[in-house]
Symmetry: C2
Subunit: 338 residues, 2 copies
């Protein structure tokens, strides 16, 4: 009955006793931090194998003040954008012996707060945080206590905190310009409730582009909703019921755009003939919808890798003092929906 095997974890003391040496010696054959004779090394290794000894990282962490763990706090692991971030992170952290602790917060401020606190409590070596709220006291607290933090998404830089993001303002601009070029004249934007972060910056780019094109900006064409497929559908429904409905709708991300597509379909409208829909992120699913979703690519896997590199740089001290801000150039991916 393996499950009952309370056969206690074997400790370094057990190994030392069995091998007839001190725990120091065992520690050193493991770490190579100081020379150990071939004979003892062999003996110790043999005992380790026999006993199936696995060093306790908790103890090691307590002693070394380092957990080899990085936290990834995101809105929703179920949004295909984030698994790519997670994968990119692991791709660079894994080879360095680090692991990733993931938490989904549904962008709920209280949940974000709790998650970050949990992570501090666990003494993670680094924190990657993607949130949509303006004020991150807990995140600041993490940074202040010496945990390297990198913010994911285009919020304004904070002193001493690195940021990895798509260039959201530019993204909003090129997306809008693309639509303008395609002769759309009444362009709406579906975004999140918060006035900061990636969604807000994308809206900013959208406004820039409108202004540059000499087109009017109308606040009622910017609808703020929960960032999810359902939220996108609700927002779209609202836009379609406007007396002056838009002829094109830009969505803060692809998941939201999916919902917009749902709503257009429900309303019996054809995309893009009746309304154009455009997303953001270029998740895999975007290429497979009907019509295929025109969107903006922001290379999430590479963003995840960049986060990992930033964190490693902070940890080994090889990074410059100043906060870094890595922006990924967005690119329109023209498909069928706009």
């Amino acid at each position: 009955m393996a499950q009952q095997g309370r056969r206690r974890h074997v400790s370094i003391t057990d190994v030392a006793a069995q091998a007839g040496v001190s725990i120091t010696t065992v520690s050193h054959v493991l770490s190579g931090q100081r020379p150990v004779s071939a004979a003892t090394t062999a003996k110790v290794r043999q005992v380790i194998a026999e006993l199936g000894y696995e060093p306790n990282q908790l103890a090691r962490g307590l002693r070394l003040q380092r957990t080899n763990t990085v936290a990834l706090v995101i809105p929703d692991i179920t949004n295909p954008f984030y698994p790519l971030i997670a994968r990119g992170l692991q791709n660079v952290l894994g080879p360095a012996g680090m692991q990733v602790l993931v938490t989904s917060t549904d962008a709920d401020p209280a949940a974000e707060d709790a998650a970050v606190q949990q992570m501090i409590t666990r003494r993670v070596d680094g924190l990657a945080f993607a949130g949509y709220q303006a004020d991150h006291r807990r995140v600041t607290a993490a940074a202040e206590v010496g945990i390297p933090v990198v913010l994911l998404g285009g919020r304004t830089a904070r002193p001493g905190i690195d940021v990895v993001s798509a260039d959201d303002v530019a993204g909003g601009e090129i997306a809008t310009e693309y639509l303008i070029t395609r002769a759309y004249r009444r362009i709406a934007f579906i975004t999140g409730a918060e006035r900061v972060g990636s969604p807000a910056n994308r809206v900013l780019g959208y406004r820039h582009a409108l202004r540059a094109a000499g087109m009017p900006y109308s606040a009622r064409l910017v609808v703020r909703e929960e960032i999810s497929r359902d939220g996108g559908a609700r927002a779209m429904a609202r836009l379609l019921s406007l007396r002056q409905a838009p002829d094109a709708v830009l969505c803060t991300n692809d998941v939201t755009a999916l919902g917009a597509l749902d709503a257009a379909k429900d309303a019996g409208l054809r995309v893009p003939r009746d309304v154009a829909v455009m997303g953001f992120d270029d998740i895999e699913i975007a290429a497979l919808t009907t019509p295929a979703l025109t969107t903006v690519s922001i290379r999430p896997l590479e963003q995840g890798e960049a986060i990992g590199r930033l964190l490693l740089g902070r940890l080994d001290g090889s990074a410059p003092r100043a906060a870094q801000r890595i922006l990924f150039d967005p690119a329109v991916v023209p498909r069928e929906s706009a």
Copy 2:
């Protein structure tokens, strides 16, 4: 410069000193394990707030022999099936104060091995493992050392190890029966390389259904490939080049089916008129392809939650001694591709 703020984490000792009490007392106001006078309680709480004290979970874990962490070892977080598992897990574990450590292994045996070892080393309280290989020595090792393990996917039960899975044999059967009902007569199967686990069981169900229908089974119609979109495309290409090509293709999962769809398109074939394609898992994307993918639903979110409940049950000792095996009934989701 927050990032530089090496302002050491404050410890229970700091709090005790500042509050003019012993660490024992601080510990007890936090745990409520024994009565503390209202006055001291207030004082201690105040100091905790002032100093921003966060108990160190590493130390607590070392002392308590419990980390409140569960490992999730999966092939690929980028496959939309697994984020749902992860989410389900977190849904039940989160309220219990536990966190999830995720690792993608690409189904590589060496990586799986390393991941599980890492997890043992970190003294996770539980391990959820989804792998495609037959032999999991390291997983067995984890169970033997007292870590509750639950296997995800339909491999044969092991003594004392819980399993959560879709009923893969049944799934293979109903999928095949569905195709037979729709008058397909030459049904192929694209699966993974390993001869165990979910993919193998699905093939088993497929064979059962063929036999029950009095239809011949042909080994050359079962192609083993890497389980990925590209792998699915390669396998499909191979099947289509057969002198006697199949009129329907069952894929071990939706991601693979996506690849099969790609290959059919490349070959200029129409689905389902020229070849039918059917997947497994019912990931979100399946409803959005053109043609929409007919597939088998296996409720991943609920599977993740079941895993969480199983693990919690083992941890609080409320679970029965015997290994449990929770099977989720699969259901065909008819759409357009078959």
